[in-house]
């Protein structure tokens, strides 16, 4: 109960601030209109004027909420204006990229932990890869995957999503696979365990909590990657494409509603991953010792 109360307080504070912001940012246009008509609007008229503009600089919360409602519930999900439709397009590439990122992250981590040569050869590149801004890479990835014969945008978008999401998985998995201490390793030596037994019986299970912790970061990174993949690539579907269209055609409502749809999608994804994590933790002893 106290939890809900504290969350509500913050939400209400944000909405209040937002209304104040909307008022001041949209007021100039109201005053402009009034000056042209030779009127001086009262404060109430000003407030009303700032909350109802179609092309407000900063749309008010209730306007964005209305637009979200229209885009999700009132439109058919097959409509090109449905946020569910665009959200699903983005969700698809997010999940494909997420899966690819997990696979790449885990595979690289295993390679790096097992082989000292791989550690020296691969790790610097993994780090360098994260210093290159993904916005700069995105168009190139689209052009290249098109050149190799992938017509659909889902492949380059998934690649960009994977490019962002493999890194947290990689770093966590390396830490996790290396987490067993000298005593644990000595114990297995006294049993005469082989390297592969050490890996399967000790290193891998010991790394799972690290793995699940990294998934939350990775799924959020995947979503960012998928959206960024839709921005500079001429995509016409997806939440990123909606944002770009909104900004290019001066339709702030479209932009804002897409933005919130993306935030809601992110919350759902993280909630899902947290659920899977809790389930896995329960299956692995319920509590970390």
């Amino acid at each position: 109960m106290r939890n809900i109360l504290s969350i509500l307080t913050v939400v209400i504070a944000i909405i209040a601030l937002w209304y104040v912001g909307s008022f001041f940012m949209n007021r100039a246009w109201v005053m402009d209109q009034a000056a042209r008509a030779g009127e001086t609007p009262s404060l109430m008229q000003q407030i009303e004027g700032t909350m109802t503009q179609d092309r407000a600089k900063l749309p008010a919360p209730h306007q964005v909420a209305q637009e979200l409602w229209k885009g999700t519930v009132e439109k058919k999900v097959t409509s090109k204006r449905s946020l569910v439709y665009h959200g699903y397009i983005t969700f698809q590439s997010t999940m494909a990229g997420f899966a690819l990122g997990i696979f790449a992250g885990v595979a690289l981590a295993v390679l790096i932990v097992v082989s000292r040569v791989a550690d020296l050869a691969l790790m610097p590149w993994a780090i360098i890869s994260q210093t290159i801004p993904v916005v700069a890479l995105a168009p190139m990835i689209v052009v290249l995957s098109n050149a190799v014969g992938f017509e659909s945008l889902i492949v380059p978008k998934a690649l960009i999503a994977a490019y962002l999401s493999f890194f947290p998985v990689l770093v966590s998995m390396i830490a996790g696979l290396r987490s067993p201490d000298g005593m644990q390793l000595d114990l297995l030596r006294t049993y005469g365990a082989s390297q592969s037994q050490v890996f399967w019986k000790l290193r891998l299970p010991a790394s799972l909590p690290y793995f699940f912790a990294s998934l939350k970061i990775a799924v959020a990174a995947s979503l960012v990657g998928a959206i960024v993949g839709e921005l500079p690539t001429g995509a016409i579907a997806g939440l990123g494409a909606r944002m770009l269209i909104g900004s290019q055609f001066g339709q702030p409502m479209i932009m804002w509603s897409a933005l919130f749809a993306a935030a809601i999608l992110a919350a759902l994804l993280i909630w899902l991953v947290t659920g899977i994590e809790a389930l896995a933790a329960r299956m692995m002893g319920g509590r970390r010792a």
Binding site: D186, L188, T190, Q197, K201, G285, G286
Partner: protein, 261 residues
């Protein structure tokens, strides 16, 4: 014909090369351990008692001298499952139940699946943990966790039990209790036990043979055959015989300059 010792060390040397020069962890260490002995290694930190145990276990390579376990090199002895090793921390896997933890060495050594429940049941009984097999380690107290780790070391029927300060992290009351149980277990199983400790009462209470060691370089300064009977209630620690042995251990430590600085 004389009995061959189970563990035999002759002129053992072990030197670690470090950046600050060589460290003589062991120098000229010779010792015989007979079958069924309970041998304690006692001394201040740095005297090489743990290192000696690790050499016997084949976890560390001696740089000079000979050591044999069951007539084999430590490496061979390890591969033939000659010993179970208990560390200072229980080191149970938090993702496995107590049963699962005891099953671990059996899985690695390739025991038959059908054989495992019987073995697990038997060692749980030996350490007084019947009925706790399905629990996870965090549901057990520290003393119970350490008992589970002893059960794990017993599961594959090694004749030798090597214990490196197994009760060092536990409080004294729990430790007394576990010492009593360990003696009962030793009497029941007739294992040969090597036990590292830095507690004089613990060493005297448990052992048939006490090996006093001293540092720089790590060496044996005294080997005391205990005159105490094998059957030992806890209050034997108040008898003159007990105090006399404890006194001799202390003398041995003093002779090795264990009390200097």
């Amino acid at each position: 014909m004389t009995k061959k010792p189970v563990i035999s060390a002759r002129d053992l040397d072990l030197t670690f090369e470090t950046n600050d020069g060589p460290i003589h962890a062991l120098k000229g260490v010779s010792l015989d351990i007979e079958k069924g002995d309970f041998v304690s290694f006692i001394g201040p930190s740095g005297c090489g008692k743990t290192t000696f145990l690790r050499v016997i276990a084949g976890l560390e390579q001696a740089t000079g001298g000979d050591v044999s376990v069951n007539g084999m090199t430590p490496e061979e002895a390890r591969k033939s499952r000659a010993y179970g090793y208990v560390f200072q921390a229980a080191g149970l896997y938090p993702w496995r139940t107590i049963e699962g933890n005891i099953r671990l060495p059996l899985e690695i050594m390739g025991f038959a699946r059908a054989d495992m429940p019987r073995r697990i049941e038997r060692v749980l009984k030996l350490v007084d943990l019947e009925g706790f097999g399905r629990k996870y380690p965090w549901q057990l107290s520290g003393g119970m966790q350490q008992r589970a780790s002893i059960a794990r070391a017993l599961a594959f029927d090694a004749d030798i039990l090597l214990m490196d300060e197994p009760f060092g992290a536990l409080d004294e009351i729990v430790r007394d209790h576990l010492n009593e149980q360990l003696l009962a277990l030793w009497a029941k199983t007739e294992k040969t036990i090597g036990f590292v400790t830095h507690s004089i009462p613990e060493a005297v209470y448990l052992s048939t043979k006490i090996v006093v060691m001293s540092p720089r370089p790590g060496r044996i300064t005294d080997v005391i055959e205990s005159p105490l009977p094998r059957e030992r209630p806890l209050d034997i620690r108040d008898t003159p015989e007990f105090l006399e042995v404890a006194h001799r251990v202390r003398e041995g430590l003093r002779a090795g300059h264990a009390y200097d600085d």
